[in-house]
Amino acid sequence: MTAGRAASSPRTVLELFWAFSWLSLQGFGGVLAVVQRELVEKRGWLSNEEFVEDWAVAQVMPGPNVCNLALMFGDRHFGWRGAAAALGGLLALPLVLLLTAATVYGQLAGHAAAAGALRGMGAVAAGLIAGTSLKLLAQLRRHPLGLALVVAVAAGAFSGLVLLHLPLIAIVFGLGGAACVLTGWRLRRGVNS
């Protein structure tokens, strides 16, 4: 999977800040789908493979996943300043917006139309994330495990979380650990190298 490298990179810390502000402001019901769209597809700052790998690391580390991803990405390009700029962009404007929303919440909560709009946006947000995951799955065709095993592991993670209500930490360390060991074994044998 080392074939897919990023085509471009952020030029200044300020550009990084605005990029993360802009994607964060689009992130209804989770910022992750928007990160993939903005950083991978629009700006070309990450390849799909890099995005999935970075996301896995951000997921395993404690702390909010998207914040971790922003820190890692900013740090890689501009060190501490980049990490601060990416995280600041991710949080600052949405925070102002959220405080405004909280202040007017009392007046809006009673309206049926507002509640309906929120429901509609919730359904769209679910579709955004599902669509992104299908896109990423298609990218894993050249994964060392082979597509069939990749689909099986993804399905296992899905059913463990949704059907068996296992905690995420069990999925990540149990199933994820097994997948890593198997991937390492395949890599050692030189499959797909």
Partner: protein, 194 residues
């Protein structure tokens, strides 16, 4: 709230930070235990409204922690709502909660990823990064499923699920701007069609 209370709040958030494996929302039960039941700094209604609003608004879900801190500061100011004093305490509450919850995990992430980047050619690092990829896809699908189910039961709200399915296909197959899709969902929902 006394100075000691604020210090206590900061220490509590710092200690919680490293436990947030799997997203900030997994911290909600413990925050509830401490802030609402234990210290009584927030009301039940304030706690629930903070989480709901943060889910509906754009941005990372962890912002609900900042909103909890904001409300907590307003409560600490007491009756003088709308004054400079209450605003100052609200900002202080927000800052204490946000910095406390982010600082330890952010430092750990930065140090660990720098180490990983230096050793990226190592077999174990490559195996870890690539081996986790299928898990990422599975977790994303689960998140989508939980969001869709939260917005409605498919036996009653068929049109809502149809909307989710259509958006899934559009996102997968086209590059239509995500904001158009969200705006479309808001209009359909606001008019009562889904």
């Amino acid at each position: 709230m006394s100075l000691l209370d604020w210090l206590h709040l900061l220490l509590y958030q710092l200690s919680l930070s490293l436990l947030a494996v799997g997203g900030a929302v997994t911290l909600a039960p413990d925050l509830h235990r401490y802030l609402v039941n234990g210290q009584g700094w927030l009301s039940e209604a304030q706690f629930t409204a903070s989480i709901t609003l943060a889910q509906a608004a754009p941005g990372p879900n962890m912002l609900f922690v900042a909103l909890l801190g904001w409300n907590l500061g307003l409560n600490a100011a007491g009756t003088g709502a709308g004054t400079v004093w209450s605003l100052a305490l609200a900002v202080l509450g927000m800052a204490v909660c946000t910095v406390g919850i982010l600082a330890p995990s952010s430092l750990l992430t930065l140090l660990a990823t720098r180490w990983g980047h230096r050793h990226r050619e190592r077999l174990s690092v490559r195996a870890f990064r690539q081996g986790m990829a299928p898990i990422v896809v599975g977790v994303l699908l689960s998140t989508a499923w939980l969001l869709a189910r939260a917005s409605g039961d498919w036996t009653r709200d068929g049109r809502l699920w149809l909307l989710t399915a259509v958006v899934t296909l559009v996102v997968w197959r086209t590059r239509m701007h995500l904001l158009w899709l969200l705006a479309g969902g808001a209009v359909l929902g606001g008019l009562g069609w889904v």
